[in-house]
């Protein structure tokens, strides 16, 4: 469970987050949505300790962000880096291998290697294992990144707008993978998404943000309503419900 209490964050003296209180239960896919500048990415970066805390408190289970040692957190929580952050000289197997680093600190055991092979197999990357990352397509590279995070074996996985620059096939593939990770591998996924339809289709829980605060939280069919779209995004989009699924007209 991730518990956020009275979290505020200012950038250049402009408030980005204003006293956020939020509880995310373990399990399932949680999507953060909201217009540009709502504070979604900042919130995610704070949970992932990518930026320093200013005020408030974030607990990941029993670990407090900012107080807990980095390498302990690395075995509990992983973040998918932005696509541009991969070192181009690595092979896929090397990259996935780094997912085990929090456990072995550079001296992999047989069990670590097994985990890596397991991750490669799970994401169907064996054929690409010896390929350099810079020779892969964007979707393949991201699959390798996700495999690394899978190998990291953490309870929580955070992703910041991972669908940018992915085509529909790669986007659906990634979202299905995340759903599968949540359902069959007991991972909790927290993901910032731009596209509400992806959020509604794949998330178990949606958190809508606006102006640095939480506006709504709940199951997609409860949160994604025409009233919410008007309030959060200021747009009058129609919401269709087909077979119990929610679809926003664009």
């Amino acid at each position: 469970m991730i518990t956020i209490t009275d979290l505020s964050y200012d950038r250049d003296e402009t408030p980005v987050l204003r006293g956020v209180d939020l509880t995310l239960n373990a399990g399932g896919v949680k999507a953060l949505i909201g217009p540009n500048g709502a504070g979604k990415s900042t919130l995610l970066s704070l949970i992932a300790r990518l930026i320093p805390m200013q005020s408030g408190r974030i607990m990941v289970d029993d670990l407090e962000i900012g107080a807990c040692a980095n390498d302990v957190l690395a075995r509990r929580l992983a973040i998918l880096p932005q696509a541009s952050e991969a070192a181009p000289l690595l092979t896929v197997r090397e990259l996935v291998g780094f997912g085990r680093y929090p456990y072995h600190k550079g001296r992999p055991t047989a069990a670590d290697r097994e985990k890596v092979e397991d991750a490669l197999a799970t994401f169907e990357l064996q054929a690409l294992a010896e390929r350099r990352l810079d020779s892969l397509s964007g979707g393949q590279r991201q699959r390798a990144q996700v495999a690394m995070i899978f190998a990291q074996d953490t309870d929580y996985i955070l992703l910041d707008e991972p669908l940018n620059n992915l085509d529909i096939a790669a986007s659906r593939g990634l979202m299905r993978t995340l759903q599968d990770l949540a359902q069959h591998h007991a991972r909790t996924i927290v993901i910032v998404l731009h596209d509400i339809n992806y959020a509604a289709a794949y998330a178990n829980e949606i958190v809508a943000m606006k102006d640095g605060g939480i506006v709504a939280q709940g199951a997609p069919q409860d949160v994604v309503t025409e009233a919410m779209l008007r309030e959060v995004y200021g747009t009058a989009a129609a919401v269709h419900r087909i077979d119990g699924r929610v679809l926003v007209g664009v």
């Binding site: 992932a48 300790r49 990518l50 040692a69 980095n70 390498d71 302990v72 957190l73 690395a74 075995r75 929580l77 992983a78 973040i79 880096p81 932005q82 952050e85 991969a86 070192a87 000289l89 690595l90 090397e94 780094f98 997912g99 680093y101 929090p102 600190k105 550079g106 001296r107 995070i149 990291q152």
Partner: protein, 314 residues
């Protein structure tokens, strides 16, 4: 991985060392050998410290173009040395034992490097070209301020700086050599100990944090190691603008990997072969008096330009 190549490089280095020690030696072996061995030791120390400092620095800045010399580290060493003489006066500075001079200067430089590059690298790490440009201008600034201070210091004291900043391989005193050796080995040991963490830090800030490494702490530690290594090499032979860039680029070609356990020794070996072998060719084969540094700088400059041009976005 790459064990054979490392072995071949080691053999090549041994060959160079052997040739260097015996080729063309005439007369009294008892005199020639210690003389050459002293020079050789200095060269090996410089080779190792320059190559390792470059690898470390490239890891922490995450690119293969920046080197400590390009960012002005050795210019900074000369600047702190000059400033020290300027503040203390040449006489009282000379009264310090050679080891004391060296240590005081190294510590000062470490502080300056941490203050300056620590902030700079944390702030502007994303814009590579701005970083390099800043570094080159910094280096120029350090050099200008150094020569400015040198001119202000009495002409007599000016000589002190000259003597300290342009030591040649030939006249390295034994105590200084021993100290330099001890410092280099300590720094290399620390770097070797960090090798797995370096592998992770090279993956980028976000990935490193996610894997439980602190980039800030890594940056801090690497800057300290780089300061020590640059101090050693600059104190021994003076600034070597492009040696690090040249040998690390070559090492990356010979052993194309990101693993520091391979890269650090590989770069060290290439660097040692370049210095010892190059000196061998220039001194014995071509009988030329041109310092190797000048040749290395022209070659390294060309490598730098190629790397830059290849970096242009496709």
């Amino acid at each position: 991985m790459f064990g054979r190549r490392l072995l071949l490089l080691t053999l090549g280095l041994c060959l160079c060392i052997a040739l260097y020690l015996v080729w063309g030696a005439r007369g009294n072996w008892g005199f020639v050998l210690p003389f050459r061995a002293n020079k050789l030791a200095a060269m090996l120390l410089v080779a190792l410290s320059v190559s390792s400092a470059t690898v470390l620095f490239q890891t922490i800045t995450r690119n293969s173009i920046l080197t400590p010399s390009v960012m002005g580290f050795d210019a900074l060493y000369l600047l702190t040395l000059t400033a020290l003489i300027f503040v203390l006066g040449g006489q009282s500075f000379m009264q310090l034992p050679a080891i004391g001079q060296f240590l005081v200067n190294t510590v000062l430089m470490m502080g300056a490097a941490l203050a300056l590059f620590g902030t700079l690298l944390r702030r502007g790490g994303s814009d590579l070209f701005r970083m390099i440009l800043t570094g080159i201008i910094f280096a120029g600034l350090f050099r200008s301020v150094t020569s400015f201070l040198q001119r202000i210091i009495d002409p007599n004291e000016f000589m002190v700086v000259q003597a300290n900043s342009f030591a040649r391989f030939a006249r390295v005193e034994l105590p200084l050599l021993a100290l330099a050796g001890a410092l280099t080995l300590a720094a290399l040991g620390a770097a070797w100990h960090m090798r797995h963490r370096l592998d992770v830090l090279a993956l980028g800030e976000q990935t490193a944090i996610s894997l439980g490494e602190s980039p800030r702490r890594g940056l801090f530690q690497v800057l300290i190691l780089v300061s020590v290594l640059v101090s050693v090499s600059t104190a021994l032979v003076g600034p070597m603008a492009f040696l690090g860039l040249l040998v690390v680029s070559v090492a990356r070609q010979i052993t194309p990997t990101v693993s520091h356990a391979v890269l650090l020794p590989s770069a060290g070996l290439v660097s040692a072969i370049t210095l010892v072998g190059g000196q061998l060719v220039l001194e014995r084969a071509l009988q030329s008096s041109t310092p190797l540094v000048v040749v290395v700088d022209v070659l390294g400059g060309l490598v730098f330009l190629t790397l830059l041009l290849r970096r242009t976005p496709r």
